[in-house]
């Protein structure tokens, strides 16, 4: 079995969990430790990718340039990656990231809207970057439809396509069906990736299932640092992969130590499965809505779980945090 590429997202998805407030020193420290541990790719941007720093999603503490530059300067072996969501970031942002030394780009769209990524994937390929298609909220469509969207990204030039469980809502059979469909229908040269969220406590299990079905790139973060209940925790994933004799480049003790002594003390809110993050996976809502729903619930005196349930019924997708206030207002009015 081929070696698994570990794509760390501590400094990107982890941004959501800290409301995009990592300092330059923290970014430098985390990058060094991750790089020394042997992860292959370190993704570092605002949680919503290039251009994400905004009133809608929260402003980053550090500028996009500082975030990327700091990751690049402190990484000796690992490649530095960026996320780009068309509609949020633009190609000019990608060119700047590339100039700063980023060499991997993951172009992300909602699972049924891959055709908005054409320009951006082509731009990544033209810049000579390792260009990846990233199909978010993969639970919202069938494996058959998902692979059709993946084929579009493949046709634009993406060399790796991800099944992304943004809501942490996929069960193990759901993950298996999607990854195996990719394996069957995409070109044999196309690499398959999997990005988990742990909202239903299946982050590691789903990542392993994905590997069993042919995925060779797996996302993880220190102590699971990420939106909602977090991603697949890097130290846990590596421990399980060791037991299953799955090949990778990461040192288990180093990531265990980094998770406990470096990452956990930085957390503002524990990244864990609790009533709200569990609700995300249960209702299938985009994981970064967690902190927004929690705040709106407090402000309008409504149960944040009801907000999430209503948001799920409305079919909100990634990036629609602005819907939360309207829903909270509505629920407050209905309760009167």
């Amino acid at each position: 079995m081929s070696k698994i590429t570990i794509n760390d997202v501590t400094l990107r998805d982890g941004m959501h969990a800290i409301s995009h407030q990592y300092s330059q020193e923290q970014i430098a420290e985390l990058t060094k430790v991750l790089d020394e541990s042997g992860v292959d790719i370190i993704e570092a941007t605002h949680g919503d990718g290039l251009g994400g720093s905004s009133l809608q999603y929260g402003f980053s503490k550090e500028s996009e340039e500082t975030i990327i530059r700091t990751a690049v300067e402190n990484s000796k072996h690992a490649k530095v990656g960026v996320l780009l969501i068309p509609g949020i970031g633009i190609i000019d942002d990608l060119k700047r990231a590339h100039d700063l030394g980023a060499s991997v780009v993951r172009v992300a769209t909602h699972c049924t809207e891959a055709d908005v990524s054409m320009q951006h994937i082509q731009a990544g390929v033209k810049l000579g970057m390792d260009t990846v298609g990233f199909l978010m909220m993969s639970h919202r469509t069938t494996p058959e439809n998902l692979v059709e969207e993946a084929k579009k990204m493949e046709s634009y030039g993406a060399k790796t396509i991800y099944v992304v469980d943004s809501a942490g809502a996929l069960t193990m059979d759901d993950a298996r069906a999607r990854v195996s469909m990719f394996k069957e229908k995409l070109s044999p040269e196309t690499e398959i990736g999997f990005h988990a969220h742990n909202n239903l406590s299946l982050g590691i299990a789903n990542s392993i299932v994905a590997i069993e079905e042919g995925a060779t790139r797996i996302d993880a973060s220190l102590a699971g640092m990420g939106a909602g209940a977090g991603n697949a925790a890097l130290e846990q994933l590596i421990a399980v992969m060791n037991r299953l004799e799955l090949d990778h480049n990461v040192d288990l003790y180093k990531v265990m130590d980094a998770a406990d002594y470096l990452m956990k003390p930085m957390m503002k809110r524990p990244v864990q499965i609790d009533r709200l993050s569990l609700m995300l996976g249960y209702s299938g809502v985009y994981s970064s809505f967690l902190l927004f729903a929690e705040r709106a619930g407090q402000e309008y005196g409504v149960d944040a779980r009801d907000i999430l349930m209503r948001i799920a019924e409305m079919g909100a997708i990634g990036g629609q945090e602005d819907w939360i206030i309207g829903v909270a207002q509505q629920l407050a009015a209905e309760a009167k």
Binding site: I88, E113, D115, G315, G319, W323, I325
Partner: protein, 296 residues
């Protein structure tokens, strides 16, 4: 009553066809020519049925049919309009550009559609659907207090976002951001767009966040009044334009949520994003017809 002014539509897709239906209702305008590039297009078929002259040979086709046409609506692509604009100018047509080409100045009827503009410009640009929905809001607030930063989030239904929008999403955000600054008068503008596939399709929705230079209860009160008044102005040409949630004014941030229900002319009512830009284009053409008709 004055004779109606003759209009041509270049582009027979969703926007062009919706324009045709709306033009047929106008007191001042009359659609007479529709130009496409696909002989099998639904828009051209409908235009022919309505007694319009049609061609599927693009700009070459229009050259044969341009006689008597005063106003040209360009509903193609930024690339096509950049090529067509000088030709239309040469012909002496008033061009209303619904692509993000932005050859001419941005026009948002609720903000800057004046007689003077009509007299001085031969080509005007309608920004984007998101711009038509949100620039008036930013402008209304900027009349009360300086807007340091305006950020808008447009959510449109997947079904209403045609291939043009999807392949040019960067142009959408860049053009809209620029209009927030130039027409809305925010010091800095930022645009986000989300294409949502929910079924049944969502109505077009826009969230406008503004950071204001100073705030007090009195300023909040004036902003609320200015917003209410602006929404009423918008309703005059986009009847389905309304608040989705109450405006939220907190410290230096004003948040306004707008929903746009379309008139259901060519696409169903969820496609408010289509309506708001075609309605703005027609409002502009009617102004031209009134100004020029009176001066003829």
């Amino acid at each position: 009553m004055n004779k109606k002014m003759k209009c041509a539509i270049i582009g027979s897709g969703n926007i062009g066809t919706d324009l045709m239906i709306k033009l047929a209702r106008s007191e001042y305008l009359e659609p007479t020519v529709m130009i496409g590039i696909d002989p099998n297009s639904e828009g051209l078929r409908m235009a022919k049925e309505n007694g319009m002259q049609v061609s599927h040979e693009g700009m070459e086709g229009f050259k044969q049919l341009q006689e008597g046409v005063d106003i040209v609506f360009e509903a193609t692509s930024a690339h096509a309009h950049a090529a067509n604009a000088p030709i239309l100018k040469e012909m002496g047509k008033f061009a209303i550009d619904l692509t993000p080409a932005a050859v001419g100045p941005f026009v948002v009827p609720a903000v800057n559609l004046t007689e003077e503009l009509i007299h001085h410009e031969a080509n005007v640009n309608m920004v984007t659907c998101g711009g038509q929905a949100t620039v008036p809001i930013v402008h209304a607030v900027s009349e009360v207090v300086d807007v340091e930063y305006a950020e808008i989030v447009s959510s449109v239904s997947s079904k209403s976002a045609g291939p043009g929008t999807r392949q040019n999403i960067d142009e959408f955000t860049e053009t809209t951001s620029k209009a927030l600054e130039v027409v809305g008068r925010a010091k800095k503008g930022k645009t986000l767009i989300v294409i949502n596939p929910a079924e049944p399709p969502i109505l077009m929705r826009n969230t406008v966040y503004m950071q204001i230079a100073e705030h007090s209860e009195q300023i909040y009160e004036e902003i609320r009044r200015a917003l209410d008044a602006r929404v009423e102005v918008m309703k005059q040409y986009v009847p389905g334009y309304r608040y989705k949630a109450e405006p939220v004014l907190k410290e230096n941030v004003v948040t306004v949520q707008i929903e746009v229900e379309g008139m259901g002319d060519f696409l169903p009512t969820y496609a408010g994003n289509l309506d708001i830009i075609t309605a703005a284009a027609i409002r502009t053409a009617e102004q031209y017809a009134q100004v020029k008709g009176a001066s003829k």
